[in-house]
Symmetry: C2
Amino acid sequence: MSEALTEPFDAILELAGAPLREAMGSVEVRLREIAGVEAHALHTIDAGGKRLRPLFVFVAGLGGSAHAPLCRAAAAVELIHSATLVHDDVLDDAPLRRGRITVYAAAGRSAATATGDLLFASAFAELVRNDDVAQFAALSSASSALARGELMQRADAWNASVTLERYLERCELKTARLFAAACELGALAGDGPPLGPFGRAVGLAFQILDDVLDITGPAERTGKRRGADLLDGTVTLPLILARERSPELAGLDLREIDGPDEADRICELIEATGAADQARRQALELVASSKRTLPDVSTTQRRALELLADGLVERFA
Amino acid sequence: MSEALTEPFDAILELAGAPLREAMGSVEVRLREIAGVEAHALHTIDAGGKRLRPLFVFVAGLGGSAHAPLCRAAAAVELIHSATLVHDDVLDDAPLRRGRITVYAAAGRSAATATGDLLFASAFAELVRNDDVAQFAALSSASSALARGELMQRADAWNASVTLERYLERCELKTARLFAAACELGALAGDGPPLGPFGRAVGLAFQILDDVLDITGPAERTGKRRGADLLDGTVTLPLILARERSPELAGLDLREIDGPDEADRICELIEATGAADQARRQALELVASSKRTLPDVSTTQRRALELLADGLVERFA
């Protein structure tokens, strides 16, 4: 999943001021210290990324003042995320990520698998120092969910009749649970109110909107041709909704999509049914609802959480 | 690494009686409950294995009476071990393990990578219930070590001039640390004396002896042709020692070993220098020394630990 840090995130940094900027800086330093034991792991961390999940940890912990524990929790969540990216690149045969050569392409499948494992283990080793079993519970549960989501996606590949419920469960496992864990960890490490449900809802919206973008493009915006999910055999919400509206799509065999041009044509068909718009609206409603149902937090934290939710969806607007 | 439960292990079960048998039975049940959420994970656990690491956990915790925490710790260690086997099968293109089709062969690289990740995450999720950060520290540190050992092995592949120190560090990371963690977890969960150094030493010996067996065979005993490590580009202790004794071996380029017959011939050369015997003696001395330096434990636990050490090396005698 590609990520872009957009204006609302800058606004959060403005709002929360120097401590948040400093925290985001500290987590970069810490990630490099942890990954520095091994060249491929360091390469992965150096490739960057927008550090969305650390930002969630810090904003969820904004009520508290425990800087070091928040920083460790933020690093741990980002390490889990990085581990999954390294393994994804192996599975997808990916030469590049974020414009840099992947560990997989540079050092091979074996080194990349082991590097992912190392990042994964390092996340837990880092969290040890927070001395809080509840934080372990949140992180290990989210990590199990990630792997189960990946297995579910592989099991459902090429099956065009995947149900809405199963699609949502997959998004929950693959994406929402780690955002939820980031918020839970922030709340635990920073003594804030519980924000797991907020993280879950915006994480779910994030995944749905990312899936919509794969159908709608345009390529200039996403940096890749649309329809990549279709060519992968991955059924997402727009297609699920479109199948109810179009007999041609209802009869579609994903294996018969024989290249990017055909995938592009199917994307057009899906968009023409209005299904992509409907999926986008559902995701935005999830975000709006998550903002309405925030627990009792300070005005600053509320505003920061709202900006966080806005920032996550702005690129899809 | 192939494993065989040998007579000394039966003797431990006799010595420790019904509680240990019951504990080993409980851990099987628990492993199936945990892995049961996902078919490939269950397949992996169902394939069995000798459950050596759970046995180390239970024997190290023999002084205590905390059955459930020991069982969870034993399951966690075995899940980590199983995760590495599933990933190893991906890296080695392995069709079979323990006579059963691997997840990799049955379901592909993607499913196997994700299954390994799931088993790995499940180990930490299981350990949460023991509510003890020290246990997390032991398991996450051993897990990092495993991945670093794997990376080290890949980095050193085909390099015939790997030093003894580097070889021993690799064995430490790849094998000894998880045995050490098993003993630490047993001691922590069972309120016993610290036995990490014992686990580390016998784990190291176990790896060295396994490496010797790859050189000496015979195939009837190991179930595979000898020299597999040489064909993999993996330099082990017998070759390191033999290179000091044989000019032909000192000049060997591993990439020029062009098949099993040539590997077999190199194994003969290594054995003829006496290096395999020397490596075996070093490993057995490690085991003997670990038995001599046991901390103050009950007579029964001492005897059980000695049998454990004997059991681990007996197949190499």
